[in-house]
Amino acid sequence: MLKRYQPTDQQPWDVHRVVHLHRRAGFAATWNEIQRDLKDGPDAAVSRLVQGRQPDEADASEPETFESMADVIGSAAVSSENINRLKAWWLYRMLFSPDPLEERLTLMWHNHFATSNIKVEDVAVMRRQNDIFRKYCRAPFGELLRRVVKDPAVLVWLDADANRKEHPNENLARELMELFSLGVGNYSEQDVKQVARALTGWTSKNGRFRYVPEYHDDGEKTIFGKTDHFDGDDVLTLMLEHPACARRLAWRICDTFFGEDVIDDASIDALADGLRQRHLDVGWGVETVLRSQIFFDDTNLGNRVLGPEEFLIGAVRVLEAFDPPPSTLLLAEWSAQLGRDLFYPPNVFGWPGGRNWITTRSVIGRANFADALLDGLLHQPQKTLPIQEVVSKRLGTASESDIVKFFCTHFPNCDPKRLQTELSGKNAAQIAKSMLVLPQAQLA
């Protein structure tokens, strides 16, 4: 099993590791959160994240207040039938949720069950799927998988209605096996055909799951060598019991929380074994990873490209631009420009992530975002961000070199000495803009 992290002289509990934890499990720590977790130590810091209580009088709301506010925004988005407002709702949640890990996991499931509104074309259905991801994000995987697959969003997206006894459509069957549960290489083309037959009859009507017995093929099917009159629920059970499912889940969790080339196959296998023994308990898997030595190992620091929301929300949180916050509708537009149009994954594989986040368009987009944010163009009414005020509140003073120091705390990959020289003579906003777009600041 993954060894637990204990601070040592070589790998101490320091600013870098606190920042790292919040960058990977949330959307960046504020200055006060860094100081607090530095003092409280790794156990308390990770516990707060996995328990989903991240109260900080300065910037995070009380959970109850937050949830009721988020619900007002989400319901308004649904009744407006405007998907952009639903994107804004989610960004609001990422920015203010007292449980940022929940939003990270919701994003992970959105990528895993990559469903696009380009085909679903229903704001209410997209929101419901997102709420399922969120509510069951830490649950045993079966609870999530059954709800997501028997939900209109996936059924419309993967042509369930076209899957009929007389003419099976393999789309849902194939993606269920290849992407949702097992991974390629763990089933045969024959299995795909048989699973498609078992799933006939599952469809949706008026935004609800519907089973139509006349569409269902009740004949015998042979799947993974077992023969029976399998139906859709049976098929999901077969997937959940398949050893490859735990392996794929373990891979997905590691893919979400580790940087490049950190985790080896043996560790993924060990995590998969643990999941299998615990009914695929995702919450356990995530907590195990976040407490592990390998998660806090030097090799896992600063070796992951920030995704669009991590970059955007991270910038707002680092700059403590909470009151008032920037327009979440505009943040959603930027997120799309930087490569992740929420609710519109590019295809069934979701966003490839990692190095793919760095494209000509996104690199230039990040620079333009930093420019617009600091100039206050994302605020309504427009408002230049008071960088010196923020830095002076946290450091006591706000000289040019204090500002560089402030940012280098938030971006520990950067070299403060070099930057003090390179950024000398610039004003606060220029320093902030330059820091946010440094190549090293795209990694965490």
Partner: protein, 399 residues
């Protein structure tokens, strides 16, 4: 002088070799064109273009019989031969014809034509007649999925314009994006790159990768901003939205954006009433924009890498209606432009007297056109078209 290879050869970038992205350095060292340098630009003529009045079979007795108000005057037509002429507003298109840069495929359609805009457009974009697949994957998306080309920092397909990429570009694996304004690709004044460390290790570790990519992106932005300066003849102020979008495509190609397929839409072809003035405006815009696009690319010596394909979801009814317009029809011409096309007329012009349900009988299946473009131009395959046995035509020059 504006393509990336050329730019790289002369610039100081190679002096910074350790921080140049590896694929960039490779292109700088090998200046010859590769198959995956080829670009396809698709212009979707939205609404159903009246093919009969675009590429006019003026000697067909059916033309006079079916068109009285909408018949184009014989002496104004731009005649290509004794039977076929271009609409009088296609003067610029005719210049492409005269210089062997235009291929016209006549009579393009498909069996059992559907006359609904949405359904017929979906058929053209997905090559599927099954309605349940009309929101699935498109012909270009599937073909791009078949490509084994190395990953680049650009999406494989780009919609130039507002909104989501059309279903034609959707695929299981490749990524399509949309770009509407050049500003999205220009750097703000306040954000300047900090000094790059030429001493950075030449390995492809992650931080070197991000540094290289950043440098590459900023160079692209610099190039685009040079291209965008009004004193450069390359960008005259556009006369229409279509021309603006094609200028954007041309700038992206000049900046060596590694995108294989650009897609844009010209709307307004649904001419049920008072067709003549509107149709004339649309065709003039198309013709001018296309000619300007190729002149622009030619000046940069990049035109041979680019082919444009213009299609519409259907042609219009042969007989005009009572509102001096035309209703939804069937087959129509597909246009291919660029110095790399096999110039001239292709396919058989359907007869205007021998109709089926008052509409033209198609003589070429649109999937044959796609097969030609995919195989002979992009070097790609769409399995659905291939397995359907649609024989390509010779629409491109042989290398």
């Amino acid at each position: 002088m504006l393509n990336r290879r050329h730019f790289l050869k002369q610039s100081t970038l190679l002096a910074l070799a350790p921080t140049v992205p590896s694929f960039l350095a490779q292109t700088a060292n090998s200046a010859e064109s590769r198959a995956d340098d080829r670009v396809l630009v698709v212009i979707q003529l939205d609404g159903g273009n009246d093919g009969v009045n675009t590429v006019v079979p003026y000697s067909d007795q059916g033309y006079e019989k079916n068109r009285s108000e909408l018949r184009l005057a014989n002496d104004r037509l731009i005649k290509l031969n004794d039977d076929i002429a271009l609409h009088p507003s296609l003067e610029d298109m005719h210049k492409l014809w005269e210089s062997d840069r235009l291929a016209i495929v006549n009579g393009v359609g498909y069996p059992n034509p559907n006359r609904s805009h949405d359904v017929s457009m979906a058929i053209w974009q997905t090559c599927s007649f099954d309605r349940t697949e009309h929101n699935g994957y498109g012909w270009l998306g599937r073909a791009l999925d078949s490509s084994s080309a190395p990953k680049t920092s650009s999406p494989s397909a780009v919609l130039v314009g507002d909104g989501k990429p059309p279903v034609a570009l959707r695929s299981r694996r490749s990524i399509a994006a949309n770009v509407d304004r050049i500003d999205e690709l220009l750097l703000p004044g306040d954000v300047r790159r900090t000094e790059q460390h030429a001493a950075a290790a030449a390995t492809e570790d992650l931080s070197a990768f991000v540094e290289r990519s950043t440098l590459d992106a900023y160079n692209t932005a610099d190039q685009l901003s040079k291209l965008g300066k009004p004193d450069q003849a390359a960008t005259r102020s556009p006369r229409s939205e279509l021309e603006r979008r094609l200028q954007l495509v041309s700038q992206l190609i000049k900046a060596d954006f590694q995108t294989r397929v650009f897609y844009t839409v010209q709307s307004g072809y649904d001419t049920h009433s008072v067709q003549l003035p509107r149709h004339e405006r649309l065709l003039r815009d198309l013709s001018r924009s296309l000619f300007a696009f190729f002149e622009d690319l030619r000046a940069a010596k990049l035109d041979e890498r680019v082919v444009v394909l213009c299609f519409s979801e259907f042609g219009r009814r042969v007989k005009e209606n009572a509102s001096i317009g035309t209703d939804h029809g069937t087959a129509g011409p597909v246009l291919l432009a660029g110095p790399s096309v096999a110039p001239g007329l292709h396919g058989e012009m359907p007869s205007l007297l021998d109709l089926e349900n008052d509409d033209l009988k198609h003589t070429v299946d649109f999937r044959q056109v796609y097969a030609s473009v995919l195989q002979q131009w992009l070097g790609l395959t769409d399995e659905r078209i291939r397995s359907g046995g649609h024989q390509p035509l010779d629409l491109l020059r042989r290398a």
